[in-house]
Structures are given as structure tokens and as C-alpha cells.
């Protein structure tokens, strides 16, 4: 579905990523983990087209999207949930979802219904400004907004940052639900252990390089990965 190969990129002439590759198939969850400063965010920006690539290419369903702007990639079928500032705080929940569907010219009522079915609390709060919601609910709005374009692949930047463990578990459950509906999911996560537990593919980045690449299960079982990155 989404394939990123040999990405080399960085800021101001200094490369942060060195020939990194990522891929996620239809209905799969891929997780990028790694220590602070490993280049996780940079990898995400490179995949989204927010950073010029020195080498490498990104394809979506076989089509080369390397030259597209982030907005054009959204139109091409990538949904993105930024880590911070991922909702419109003064707009209501429903207006947030409407803005997510801004580029769609067809009726988006069905999509909105399926977002409400996925996150029932959003239906209750649909007339409330998104800025007044709790952190976990706001993340749900953010994910819902990104789903409104009916993307083929959903990219999440640390969706569980700053939410409680209970909310985190629930959010991961919903992400599994979304993947089961056939979407590909690529996410960067700080909570490596929990994220790898739901991952079909896991990527451990270290100093801008693919250090380990395997299924989440295999990585969790790998003693070296456990010792170095999961705290035993």
C-alpha cells in the first residue's frame, strides 16, 4: 500500500535519516519506535512530504507520490494526525469533522456516521468546541478528522502522547478497529511496548537508520530489542 524506500533527508544540509525504508500493507499496522533523537519525527515528515528528500521515493498503491506536496498527498489518500495542534479548538466537534472532509465534493454523511460509530462520545459532544474536550477525546476528534477524507493510509504522530494509560489502551483498540476496516496505519510511538504489541510491522530506528525491522511480535520477543529499547 504505502512504501517508502531509501529515504535520506535532514535539515540544512545535515542528514538525519540515512536510507531508511518503511512499508505498510492494506489493513496492517506499522509502528516506528526508537529512542529520542532517532529520527522518528523526521521519518514521518519525510513520508508526508514536509521535508525535501535527498534520496529515496514514496509510493502509494504503486503510484509515485515523491514529488507531491503534503496537501496533494492528503488528496491522494494519505490521512495525517499531527502530534500537537491536531484539532480546530474553537470549532465544534462536528465542524472539525466537516473541515476534515473539506476537499470532498460528494456527501460525507456516511463517513461522519462511521466516525461517530467508532467514537460514540464524539456524537454526544458534537456541538461542543473541540478545545473544551479532554485530551483523549481531542485525540479522537483528531483521528476522526483525518478519517473524513476516507484515506487509504492513516499516519499518526504519537497519538498517545500525554494521555492516561486507560485512554491509551482504548485509543489503540480503536486503531486496531480502523485497521480491520481495511486501512493501512503507520504510526510513530513513544509507548514502544504497547505499540509493538498491536503492530504487524515494527521498525526500530536508531540514529536515523533502520536498526531492526520485523513483526511487532518478533521484536517484542527479541532479547536485544528488549534490553536496548524496551527496558528489559
Amino acid at each position: 500500500m504505502l512504501v517508502a524506500e531509501n529515504l535520506t533527508a535532514g535539515y540544512g544540509g545535515v542528514d538525519i535519516l540515512h536510507s531508511c525504508s518503511f512499508a505498510v500493507g492494506a489493513g496492517e499496522i506499522a509502528v516506528i519506535v526508537g529512542p529520542n533523537g532517532a529520527g522518528k519525527s523526521t521519518a514521518m515528515k519525510a513520508i508526508l512530504g514536509m521535508l525535501p528528500l535527498r534520496t529515496g521515493r514514496v509510493t502509494l498503491e504503486g503510484a509515485d507520490i515523491t514529488g507531491l506536496s503534503p496537501q496533494a498527498r492528503v488528496a491522494a489518500g494519505m490521512g495525517f494526525v499531527p502530534q500537537n495542534d491536531n484539532v480546530f479548538p474553537t470549532l465544534t466537534v462536528e465542524e472539525n469533522l466537516e473541515m476534515g472532509a473539506f476537499i470532498r465534493r460528494d456527501s460525507y454523511q456516511d463517513t461522519m456516521e462511521s466516525v461517530y460509530a467508532l467514537f460514540p462520545v464524539l456524537r454526544e459532544k458534537r456541538r461542543q468546541p473541540a478545545g473544551e474536550l479532554s485530551g483523549g477525546q481531542r485525540q479522537q476528534v483528531a483521528v476522526g478528522r483525518a478519517l473524513m477524507t476516507q484515506p487509504k493510509v492513516l499516519i499518526l504522530d504519537e497519538p498517545t502522547a500525554g494521555v492516561s494509560p486507560i485512554v491509551m489502551d482504548e485509543l489503540f483498540d480503536r486503531i486496531i478497529d480502523i485497521a480491520r476496516s481495511g486501512l493501512s496505519i503507520l504510526m510513530v510511538e513513544q509507548n514502544a511496548r504497547q505499540a509493538l504489541a498491536i503492530a504487524d510491522r515494527g521498525y526500530v530506528l536508531v540514529q536515523g537508520r533502520n536498526r531492526f525491522t520485523a513483526s511487532g511480535e518478533t521484536l517484542l520477543a527479541d532479547p536485544e530489542v528488549r534490553r536496548s529499547f524496551l527496558g528489559g
Binding site: 503534503p70 496537501q71 492528503v74 488528496a75 495525517f80 499531527p82 495542534d85 491536531n86 484539532v87 480546530f88 479548538p89 474553537t90 470549532l91 465542524e95 466537516e98 473541515m99 476534515g100 473539506f102 476537499i103 478528522r145 477524507t149
Partner: protein, 351 residues
């Protein structure tokens, strides 16, 4: 009934006095302040829209109003020359849509050749503010080239709905009350226009995209909202509001280019008092500033004469500030708000 007959004269003397006091207050405070408040509200709404979407305090807004009014006056003269009128309403109402179009073109041209450059540079807000000061001087000169510096009265049609003499004759009260067509028109237009703007921002796709852009520019871009379109619509709204506010102010007072530069201060004060970036707050702020300004510069002696017993009537004028200092009121309110509640009445955002 001898007792009642005896009591009547004293109560009869009190009631008209009380009515006289009310009429006096309405004539010199409530009516003028309401009309002035509506004009400030329309101006502040334009300033606050530009602030919330384009993220800078537009110092050129007052002079944009002046230009818009000058353009409208020229069209009024043209219409008057042709004998076209909307009597009993002022011809300016007929000329207003054309004035709005011309002003939109000026605002969009300015954006294309001035502001867009700085937007693409992603210049900080203070640069935009300074640029808008430059634009202000240009508009200022443009207006003077266009129509000169003189005082222009362009109010025609039926000037009064209620005249002082007519009111006195109809009611038999000592105090007169005048209600001018321009004042009633100002309030009606202001209610219609602000309702339309609120509806537009709340309920239309474009309006929502403007609020989304104002809330979170990056996320709006990611959602596929076209920033150029948002900017275009914002300038058109701001220019239209500037034209309406400017023409209503000119109808009510008379047109002199420099007064529009001066009312920039009460307009900014209104936008800040209401909560900068909050359209509803801007309207509320307009009325707060207008009523404060008129109430503090009004000589209350006449009013007190009617309601106080003769021995308590003060000797002075009971005027807190002389009219020359009316702009100090806006400034004072501005300072107090910024010290006590810098977010304004409705919590606004400061970028």
C-alpha cells in the same frame, strides 16, 4: 372628591419632569451613542476579522473606511446629477453597493501587491502592522486626491423621522427629541449586516473554513483549505464592512478624511474590549466604547435639573470630560482592559 383634586397638581408636575429627563437622555445620550456604537461595531468587526484570519492589527482600516466613503460620495454625486434617488432614503444607500465593489478592488489590489509579498515571506505580525501603517498613509493620500480635504455633507432625502419641534408639539413636553433617518438606518443596517456576517461565519462552508484557518493554519492547509481563497474572502468582507461603517458614519456626522483616521482608536478599543478576534465581542465592544464616550463627555446638569429637588441641583455642568477629550475615553478603556482583562470580554486570542 376634594382630596384628589388637591393632590393632582403636584404629581402632574413630577411626571412630566421625569419624562422630560428620559427624553433628554434619549435625545443626547441614548440615540447618538447607539448610532455611534453601531458604526464602531461595524468598523471593529472588520478589524477583528482581519486580525483573526490574517493575524495582524490593520492600521489602514480607518483610512480604508475614508476611501470607501469618498468613493461612495462620488457615486452619490453622479446619481444626483442623473436625478436618480431613493427618496426618502439617502442616495448613499443606492451608491453603497458600488462603493463596496470599488473598496473590495482596492483592498484586494493592496493584498496582491503589498501584503501577499510579506505573507509569502512568512513575516512576523509586527512587520504586517508596520506595512499596514504604510498602507494607511497611501490610502490617506489617495482619499485626499480623490475628493479633497473639505467637509462634505452627502445626506439627502428625508433627514428626520422625528423632529424636535414635531416631538414637542405632539407630546407637550419641554424637552424635544430628534430622530434622524441616518441614525435609524445605521442601526437597522448594522443589525442586518452583523447578523449576515455571523450567519456566514457559523453556517457556510467558506465561513467555517475561515474560522478553521484562523484556529490552526497548518491543520487547515492539511485539510485542503485553500489559504488564498480564505484571504480573498476575508479582505472582501473587511472592505465591505469598512464601506458600510464609513458611509453610515459619514451620513450621521459628515465626511472629513481625517476623522476616519481618528476613529481608528475607538474602533481598535472596541475590538480589544470585546476580545480580539471575536466577532461578537467586537460588536459588543463598539457599543461599550460609544456609550462610555458619550456618557463621560455629556453635561449631566440638564438631566439632573429634571430629577433632583431644586436645592440639590449642582451649579456646574456635571460634565466629566470635555468633548475635546472624547478619544481619551477609548484610550482609558483600552488601558484598563489591557491591565485588568487583556483577553477582552469574550476571551480572544493574542498571537
Amino acid at each position: 372628591m376634594p382630596i384628589r383634586k388637591f393632590a393632582v397638581p403636584s404629581s402632574e408636575a413630577e411626571i412630566p419632569d421625569f419624562l422630560n429627563a428620559i427624553v433628554l437622555l434619549a435625545n443626547f445620550v441614548v440615540i447618538p451613542a447607539t448610532a455611534y456604537g453601531a458604526q464602531l461595531a461595524l468598523g471593529a468587526l472588520g478589524v477583528t476579522l482581519v486580525y483573526s484570519v490574517l493575524r495582524f492589527a490593520n492600521f489602514a482600516h480607518g483610512d480604508l473606511m475614508a476611501f470607501a466613503t469618498a468613493a461612495t460620495i462620488l457615486i452619490v454625486w453622479l446619481f444626483q446629477g442623473w436625478g436618480v434617488s431613493l427618496a426618502p432614503l439617502p442616495t448613499a444607500i443606492l451608491a453603497l453597493p458600488l462603493g463596496m465593489i470599488i473598496t473590495c478592488l482596492l483592498a484586494l489590489g493592496t493584498d496582491r501587491f503589498v501584503y501577499r509579498f510579506y505573507r509569502h515571506q512568512r513575516s512576523p505580525a509586527i512587520v504586517f502592522v508596520m506595512v499596514s501603517v504604510g498602507v494607511m498613509f497611501i490610502y490617506n493620500a489617495l482619499t485626499r486626491f480623490l475628493i479633497g480635504v473639505d467637509d462634505r455633507r452627502f445626506e439627502d432625502g428625508e433627514r428626520f423621522i422625528v423632529t424636535v419641534i414635531g416631538f414637542r408639539e405632539a407630546t407637550g413636553l419641554d424637552q424635544g427629541l430628534a430622530l434622524r433617518t441616518s441614525q435609524v438606518l445605521t442601526v437597522i443596517v448594522m443589525v442586518l449586516v452583523t447578523t449576515a456576517v455571523f450567519w456566514f461565519l457559523r453556517s457556510t462552508r467558506t465561513g467555517k473554513s475561515m474560522r478553521a484557518y484562523s484556529d490552526n493554519e497548518d491543520l487547515a492547509l492539511l485539510s485542503g483549505i485553500n489559504p488564498d481563497r480564505v484571504v480573498l474572502v476575508t479582505w472582501m468582507l473587511a472592505a465591505s464592512l469598512a464601506t458600510i461603517a464609513g458611509v453610515l458614519y459619514g451620513l450621521d456626522k459628515s465626511f472629513r478624511p481625517f476623522t476616519y483616521f481618528q476613529i481608528l482608536l475607538p474602533i481598535f478599543a472596541a475590538a480589544i474590549v470585546g476580545g480580539i478576534g471575536q466577532p461578537f465581542g467586537a460588536v459588543a465592544g463598539g457599543f461599550i466604547i460609544a456609550f462610555s464616550e458619550v456618557a463621560l463627555t455629556y453635561a449631566w446638569r440638564g438631566f439632573l435639573t429634571h430629577i433632583l429637588p431644586p436645592d440639590l441641583i449642582p451649579a456646574g455642568l456635571v460634565q466629566i470630560l470635555s468633548v475635546e477629550y472624547k478619544f481619551a475615553v477609548s484610550f482609558l478603556i483600552l488601558v484598563i482592559v489591557l491591565l485588568v482583562r487583556p483577553t477582552g470580554i469574550i476571551r480572544g486570542r493574542v498571537f
